[in-house]
Amino acid sequence: MSRNLQAAIAGAIVGIALLLPAFLHTDYTLQIIFRIFLFAALGLAWNWVGGYSGQLSLGHAAYFGAGAYGLALFARAGLPPWPAVGCAVILSMIFAALIGKVSFRLRGPYFALCTIAFAEVLRLTAKNLPNVTGGDVGMQVPALFKYSTTQSFYYASVLLTALAVALTYWIERARFGYSLMAIREDEDTALSVGINTPRTKLYALLLSAALTAIGGALYASMFLYIVPDQVLAMEVSTEVAIVAMLGGAGTLLGPLVGAITLESAAEIFKAWFQEAHLLIYGILIIVVVLFLPEGIVGTISRKLAVFKAAPIPPFTEKPRPGAKAETTRAAVLK
């Protein structure tokens, strides 16, 4: 699927979503679709880091939680709700700068594990400081909308998704986006052609963290109450990553499709299998990785591309005579 087609489909989905509340009258259904669009936005934000630049983060709960707790904490300090959201976004970006500084030097599994470790440190710290965050008991969050109905939050989540889609559309065409994709393909080569890879990756993460923090604030304000094990949990990080991977990492439409598929599947599992829904969910993750490693959109795109033109044969590197085996340190950092 061409990028413009994907963008058109994404736009159509957002457009339909804006009309939906006119036909839906139960809060429950609206809440589920709120969750779909919230995670679509988070997945799109993750995609900038994980999809386009290939830095597979598993610590986005840190930014989500920073948004949620930031809103609650700044509001308690006396700020009105919306400025508090702004401060929470800045807080989340500060975290992102710190986390990026350390973890972007690592590659492969070390990067993913380092991001998990940061998110876990934040979660445990939030649990262990009852004076500040209320600990396990949790914290109250102010309402963001005057008429705090499910509908307002629903519209907010759809608008957030629209914003994420627009930003992705821009990134796919901007020099910034091409730099990110170059880093994904080969970081060393990207460096050698003059891309400032640390800075580019950091900008992507900052943008991603900011949007994730807004999502976290929305989520927190929707339920008016947060606990560390909910908004800072590793499950949030995993879910965000899986939404993007299921739909297709590095595509515009992917996270949107992934969120629709995964969240509705999760709801259906909860209804059908009850206690066994996590079992089925775990198996679903395994099946996706084993059989759909490129994600739904990625696989469809490849299938469609067959009809268009003969694929360009892949560039194969000839083995250099006397090439040295990778050194220990390089292997470690890979």
Binding site: L58, V102, P109, A117
Partner: protein, 321 residues
């Protein structure tokens, strides 16, 4: 004087926890060294080891639960389950853990062939996702079969304390588990360093592309290593059973902790991971004493981040297994 004895006691307790951590870490290091993959189901394997030991020690707990699960789905109760429900005690946990380990070895072997091998060439992240999904599925399956209740076993050894002088005190089950863990740790080290299989495993760890040229069946070595690594986690779980409560989520905190040991020990070096396990046990116990139990895991992860940012090749054992 009290200060010294207090700290000495904490150090002793730390070493005992550390020996069990070492076993968990060695299993993870073997898997990571030979396959370069992060096994996120390590904690779930540990949990399964605990439950397996529990089942063999007190079959009735398991049988009663399973009968009620079957009943809920309207299935008939098989004969052997009703007979199992009569048996209150079957095997001593210090024997049963070996059966748990053996079962986990087989399961690990199968998991490798079914889930890990098909995605071998892909991003490391994919393996993290698969093992994460596996972990979710196993934990939920355990919850379905055993229920979400906390189980604790009772055995006469539990209340036995050994006094070392007037101030120091060792809990007997910890001491026994410590001894067995130490023994098994050395056995695993010997196995990797001095047997033909261990040599093959180290060759694969060093270079998985030239190992097959030396006539090593890489797939088999990796499958067996995965099985041994999983078994090590399950055995550590079985050894922890006399001291800890067992519940479906018990392994979750070991998911990342086992990798902390691998990183601290230096990327797949099993002796490094063993040392790191001991250090981690000490650090956690001292953290618990001076800052409180709830900060122990935070300190673990902070150490992890610091090591990754300043010395990613690890602190102990520069040599790679």
């Amino acid at each position: 004087m009290n200060f010294i004895y207090g700290n000495l006691q904490v150090a002793l307790d730390g070493l005992m926890t550390g020996a069990l951590y070492a076993l968990i870490g060695m299993g993870m290091a073997l898997i990571f060294g030979v396959m370069r993959i992060v096994n996120f189901a390590h904690g779930a394997f540990l949990m399964l080891g605990m439950y397996a030991t529990l089942v063999f020690y007190q079959p009735d707990v398991f049988a009663v639960q399973l009968i009620s699960v079957l009943g809920r789905f309207g299935l008939p109760t098989p004969e052997f389950l009703t007979r199992m429900a009569q048996v209150h005690q079957f095997l001593n946990p210090y024997i049963a853990f070996l059966i748990g380990g053996a079962l986990m070895f087989v399961l690990g072997y199968v998991i490798y062939l079914g889930l890990i091998r098909p995605i071998k060439g892909q991003e490391a992240f994919m393996v993290i996702l698969v093992t994460m999904g596996l972990s979710l599925a196993l934990v939920d399956a355990a919850q379905l079969v055993f229920g979400a209740d906390y189980h604790q076993i009772n055995m006469p050894l539990k209340d036995l304390n050994i006094h070392l002088g007037p101030h120091l005190l060792l809990n007997a089950p910890w001491l026994v588990s410590f001894g067995i863990a130490l023994l098994l740790g050395f056995a695993l080290y010997w196995f990797v360093m001095h047997t033909m299989f261990g040599r093959a495993a180290r060759a694969v760890a060093q270079n998985r592309y030239s190992a097959p040229l030396m006539g090593i069946n890489v797939n088999r070595v990796q499958a067996v290593s995965f099985g041994i690594g999983a078994a090590a986690a399950a055995i550590a779980g079985g050894l922890l059973l006399p001291m800890l409560y067992v519940f479906p989520f018990v392994g979750n905190e070991y998911r990342l902790k086992s990798f902390v040991m691998v990183v601290l020990g230096g990327m797949g070096s099993i002796q490094g991971a063993a040392l790191a396990g001991l250090v981690l046990g000490l650090v956690e116990n001292f953290t618990s004493r001076y800052w409180g139990n709830q900060w122990a895991l935070v300190v673990d992860f902070v150490i992890f981040i610091l090591v990754l940012s300043f010395k990613p090749s690890g602190i102990f054992g520069s040599q790679r297994a």
